[in-house]
Subunit: 417 residues, 2 copies
Amino acid sequence: MKGNVLVGQSGGPTAVINSSLAGVYKTAMERGFTRVYGMRYGIQGFMQEQYVDLADHIKNELDLELLKRTPSAYLGTCRYKLPEIHDDKSVYERIFELLDKLDIEVFVYIGGNDSMDTIRKLSDYALLTGARQRFVGCPKTIDNDLAITDHTPGFGSAAKYIATSTKEIICDAMGFSYNKKNVTIIEIMGRNAGWLTGASALAAGEDCEGPDMIYLPEISFDVDTFVAKVKDLLEKKDVVVVAVSEGIHNAEGKYICEFTSGSETKDAFGHIQMTGTASYLAQVVSQQLGCKTRAVELSTLQRAAAHMASLVDVNEAFAVGGATIKAADEGASGVMVVIERVSDDPYQSTTGVYDVHRIANAEKVVPRDWINKEGDGVEEEFLDYVRPLIQGHLNAMMVSGLPRHLSMDLKNYAWSK
Amino acid sequence: MKGNVLVGQSGGPTAVINSSLAGVYKTAMERGFTRVYGMRYGIQGFMQEQYVDLADHIKNELDLELLKRTPSAYLGTCRYKLPEIHDDKSVYERIFELLDKLDIEVFVYIGGNDSMDTIRKLSDYALLTGARQRFVGCPKTIDNDLAITDHTPGFGSAAKYIATSTKEIICDAMGFSYNKKNVTIIEIMGRNAGWLTGASALAAGEDCEGPDMIYLPEISFDVDTFVAKVKDLLEKKDVVVVAVSEGIHNAEGKYICEFTSGSETKDAFGHIQMTGTASYLAQVVSQQLGCKTRAVELSTLQRAAAHMASLVDVNEAFAVGGATIKAADEGASGVMVVIERVSDDPYQSTTGVYDVHRIANAEKVVPRDWINKEGDGVEEEFLDYVRPLIQGHLNAMMVSGLPRHLSMDLKNYAWSK
C-alpha cells in the first residue's frame, strides 16, 4: 500500500500552474497513492500545518477540468527560501516530522528557481538522514528562465496573451493615425530574461506589422539612441509601437524605471516593482519629439489571463505534473521534471527528469544570436522556438458570460442566496 | 437603381465597431445599393477625399466574419467637430460636393456623442438646401453614455473583458495572501460615467467574491474615507481588491489623478490622459497603512480586446449597423438607430430609430439609486441591467495560435515571403 503525496506551489503564479496541480493529483490517484495533500501557501504555510486533503476539493472530473482553467495558485503560494542545512537543522527536523506524521511518501513542489532550491535541500537532507521521502520538482514560470528544460510551463500562455494583446493594441493605434503621429510603448514582464518581451514579435504576420522595435533586458538600453530611432521611424510612418521589457537598463546597469520621478513601489514581497519603464519612455518621447504617446503596462494579466491560455502549454503543464508522480513512484528523488523538445515542425515534446543540483539557481536568458544585431528585435530562430508553444486554445467554461474557476474557499456558495 | 452608401467611423474605437461596419455593408448590398464607400479616418479624412470602395476589401463572407472579429476602427477614426452651419458654410459645401460626386444616397456615421452631432448638422444642412442625401447615426461607445438607447454597442464587450480580468486579478492576489496583507487597485475607463467601472462587480459569483469596493465617478471621492475603509477591511481579510474609475474626483471636482506628481500626459488628441489614479491611491495606501499594494490599469485593452468580445454585443452591433441602412432606405434622415430592451429575462432586444436632435451631446450616467448608499458599490438593478449584455462568446479565428484580424493595408502580404 502506497503512502501519501504532498504537493505545493511556490513563487509567482501562472495561467497554467493549476494544470500541473491537476496532473499531479490525477496521476497520484491513478497510481494508487492513498491521499494527496496540498500545502496552503507552499512550504511556509505547511510548516505551520496549513494543508488540505485535495479529495475534499477536487470531487470529480469536472472539478479537475475547472482547476486546469483556473489562473494563479489554487493552493496559494509563498516566497520562502530554506536555510542551508548546516545553518539551521531545526527547520528540517520540523518539516520531516510533519511529513512523517502525514505519512508522506512523495513531495512535489511546483515552482521556479527558488522552488528547485527547496527540492535540492530537502532531498539532500533526506539522503543525509536516511528519510524515506522522495522529492521532485515541477517547473513553472512565465519568465522561461529555468535551465535545462527546453521551456517552462506558463511561458507559452503568457507569450500567447502578450502576442494577442500586442496585435489588439496595434489595431487600436492604427485606427487613430490620421494626421496624428503616435507612439505606443508596451511594457512586458521579465526582469533579466527577455523571453516574454520577445514574444511580442509573434504579433507580426499577414494581418499585422508587429512592434517596430523590441527591447530585451539582455542588451543595454540607451535612451538617446532609442529616441533617435523613434524619430527616424516617425519620418516614414505615423504609428510606432515599441515593446520593452520592464528590466531594460543602461550600460551602467541602472534600470530605466529607476529614472522615474515617483517614489519606488514594492510588491507584496518587498521586491521593488519594475514599473514605470513605459511611462518614463513615453514621457521622454513626448517631450523630445513633441508627438502623442501612450504607455501600456500589460501587468498582472500576463500571468493570470487563463482565458487566453495556450492549449500546448496547458497540456504540457498537466503532463509535467503527472511526470513528477511517475518519476517519484519509480524511485527518483532530487530531480526536476523537464520538457524535451523532440521536433520543431511538427512540434513534439516529451518529459524527462534531471538532477535538480544542476538546475537550481541558474538563469537562462535569450541567446545573443537570437536577438538582432541592432539589439532592437528578435531573429527567426527565436520565433521558431516560441511559436509552437502558443498553439491551440482551451475553451473556458463560461457561466453567466464569464470564465468559471475553481475556488477553494467559495465552492459551497449557495445557489439561491 | 439605388445610389451609393458612404460609411465612416468616429471617436474612440471599440471591440465591435467593425461588426457595425459589417452590418452596414451586408444590408446595403442586400438592399441593392450600388456601392459602399468607406471614409478613411471619418469625416476629416473624407473631406480630403480619403475613401475606399469596400468591395475591394471585403471580398467574401469570410472577410465579413473576420471584420466582425477585428478590434479598433477598420476604416480609421477621427475626432473632428463640424462647425455650426452659420459659422462656416464652406465646410458643408465641400462635403456635399463630394457626396454628389460619389453619388451618395445614404451617409452612415458610427460613433458616440460627437458623431451624432455630425449627423445632426449634416441632416439639418440637407434639409435647408434640399439635398437628397439621408443621414443616419449608428451608436458606438464603450462608455455607454449615450442617451435614449438602452445601451451602446461596444459596452457589453468592454464590460465582459473588465469582469473577466477582474476575476483573474483577484485570483492572482488571493494566491499571494499568506501572512501578507495586500491591496490591489484596478483602474477602469470612463471619465464621467461609471458604467464600465460598475461592470467589475460582475466578477462576484459562486467562485469569486468580486471587488471589495467600487468607486464610480458619479459620486465624489474622499481619499481619507477610502483609506479608512481599506484599513477596516484589512482587519477582517488579507486581500483587498478595489475598482476605481479613472474619472473619480473629490468634492471640489478635482480629479484624483491630478494629485500625481508626474507631469501630465496627453492622448493622441491632446486630451489629458486620465492615468495614474490607481498608482496614486496605491501609493497613499502603502504609505499610510504600510501594506503591500499593486496598481493595475486595464488601459487600451478595455476597448480593443476583441478576443473577449460578448456575442450579444457583436450581434447587436451588427444589427444596429444593418438597421441604419434599413432606416435610410425607408426614407429616414437625421436619426440614430437605438437599441430597445424588450425583456430582461430572458433577454431580448430590438432596434428603433430616434431623432438625433434629442440625442446629440447628452450624457447618460449611472442613476444614483443603482449605486449603493455608501457610494462604494453597485446595486442589483445595475447588475440585472448589465449581465445580459456580456453573454455568449464569438470564437476568434485562430491562425498560428493568434486571433486573425482583417487588415486594410496588409491583406496582400505574400504567404511565401
